[in-house]
Amino acid sequence: MSMIFGVPLAVLFGQLLIGIINGAFYALLSLGLAVIFGLLKIINFAHGAMYMLGALVTVVLFDALGMNYWVSLLVVPLIVGSFGVIIEYSLLRRIAGQDHIYSLLLTFGVALIMQGVLINIYGVSGLRYSMPDVFQGGMNLGFMFLPYYRAWVIVAALLMCFATWFIIEKTKLGAYLRAGTEDSQLMQGFGINVPLLVSLTYGFGVALAAFAGVLAAPIYSVTPVMGSSILIVVFAVVVIGGMGSIGGAITTGILMGVIEGLTKTFYPPASSAVIFLVMVLVLMFRPNGLFGKEA
C-alpha cells in the first residue's frame, strides 16, 4: 500500500472525502446565512437549530409515517421553511426597526428554546435514520472506496448551491432580492411587497439549512444539540470567506472542510480547532476575509 508522510493513501483519501462532505454542509449553511444577511442584515443564530430541526423532522416523519427519503428531501425544507416564515412574521418583524443586535439576540433565544424543548422530548443520545436502500454500498475507485450516499451528498449539496446561485443571479425574483439588499425602501417605492420578500427570504435561508439537515440525517447522529456546534464552525467559515459573494461562501465552505480533513489525517488533536486557527490567520492578514468586500 502506498504511503504519504507515513499515512496510507486510502486513509488520506478517505479523510479528504469526509472533509469535502463536511465542507458541503458548511457551504450550504453559510450560503443560507448569507442569503438571510443580505436582505435582513442579521445573523441568524437559530440557523444551527433549523439545520437540526430539518434532520430531526426527517427522522420523526420516517418513524411516524414511514416517509420516503426523497419525499423528505422536498417536504422537510418546506415545513421548516414555513416555520421560519412564522418566526420572521411573528417575532423578527416586530423589532425590524431596532438595532440589528436585538434581532441577533432574538434568534439566539429562539435557538435556545428549540434546542431545550427538543432535548426534553428526544434526549441527547441521538436518533437513528436508516440509509435509503438505493444508497447501500459503494464503488471501489481503485485508490479508495466511495460509498454511494456520500457521493450523493456532495452532488446534492452542489446542485442546491448552484440552484441558489441561479435564482439569485439570474431570475427576476433574485433581481428583487439583490435590489432589496441595496435599498429596500426605494424598492418598496416601486411597488414591490418588501415585507413579504423579507419573510420569504428568511424562510428560504432556513429551508436551505433544513435541506442540509435532511442530507445529514443518514450519516450523522441526529440529536437536538447537533446544530449548535456546527453553527459556530460555520460562523468561522463566514468570517473567513466574507458574506459578499455566493461563490465565495461555497468555495470557502468546501476548502475549510478539506483543511479539516487533512488535519484529521496528519495531526488529529488539532482537527476541531484548525478552522478557528485559519480564521485567526485570516483576521491577521486579510481582515476583510478571503472574498470580502466590506469590513
Binding site: F37, K41, I42, I43, L91, R94, I95, Q98, H100, I101, Y102, L104, L105, L106, F108, G109, V110, A111, L112, I113, M114, Q115, G116, V117, I119, N120, S228, I232, F235, A236, V238, V239, P269, S272, A273, F276, L277, M279, V280, L283, M284, P287, A295
Partner: protein, 331 residues
Amino acid sequence: MNQQAHSADIHNTILAQQKAQDRRKLMINGVLLALFLVAPFVMYPVFLMKILCFALFAVAFNLLFGFTGLLSFGHAAFLATGSYTTGYLLSHYSGLTTEVGIIAGTLMATVLGLAFALLSIRRQGIYFAMVTLALAQLVYFFFVQSEFTGGEDGMHGIPRGELFGLLDLSDNLNLYYVVLTVFIGCYLLVQRIVASPYGQVLKAIKQNEPRAVSLGYNVDRYKILAFVISAALTGLAGSMKAVVFQLSSLQDAHWHTSGEVILMTLVGGMGTLLGPVVGATFVVNVEYQLSQGALRDWVDPILGGVFVLTVLAFRSGIVGEIQKFMRKNMG
C-alpha cells in the same frame, strides 16, 4: 436682563434636579450595600457569593456591551481562563496565598482579552459577535484537550487558602466579605470609568461611531482598552468563582455561559450601572429555583423564552424600565 434671570433660573432648576437625582442614587446604593452586608446572616453565603461573582461578570460585560456597544459572544473564555489559572496555581503551589492566585488569573484573562481585542477589532458590527464566539470556541477546545484542566472532569478540591496568609478563607463568612469588597471595588471602578471623559468617548462611539472618528478620536484604541478592562474584570470574577466553589469546569468556557451573561445584562438593563447586578441576581435565582422544582429540565428553554420576551417587550431591562417610570412620574 429679564432673559438672563430666566436662564439662571433654569440653570438652578437643573442643578437642583441633578442633586435630587444624586441623592436618590446614593440612597439606593446605600440600601443595597446594607442589604449585602446583612444578607449572609439570612441566606446561604455560597449562594450569595455565586450571585456576586456573576454580578461582577455581568458588570464587566456591560462595560463593553452596554456602554461601548460591542456585543462579545466570547466572554466565557475570560471567565474560564481566570478560573482555571487560579485553580491550577492554588492546587499545585501550596505556598501561594489566595490573592496571588486570583491576581494571576486576572492577569491571564487580561492578556487573552488583549489578544481577542486585537483580532476581533478588525471586524465590525455583526461580524464582531461571530469572531468573538469563534475565538472563544478555540479557547474551549484548548481547555478540553489540555491536561492541566482535567478535561471533561474539571478541577476539583481547589484549596481556598488564606488571604495574605492571615485570613482563613475556608470560613464562608470571611470569604463572603472578601468577595463583597472586591465586587464593590470593581463596581465603583466601572462607575468611575463610565463617568470619566474616557467613558464619555465610549458612549459617543456607541451612539455614532463615524462621528467619533471624525472628531479625531482613535476609536479602535478606545474599544480595545474597553475590551481589555472588561476581560480583566471577567477573569477576576472567574478567579473568585474558582475559590468560592473550589471548582473549575468546562461549563465556564462553554458558549452557553457567554449567552448567559448577555441575558443577565439584557434583563437587568444594558447601559445602566445597576442593571447587570439586578439581572445576575434575577437569572441566578431563576436558575436555582427552577433546578429545585418540577421544571428542572426546562431551565434552558425558559431562559430562551425570557431572552425572546426581553428583546421583544422590554429592551431597557428591569432597571431601565424603572428609570423610565421614575423619570416620567417623579420629574
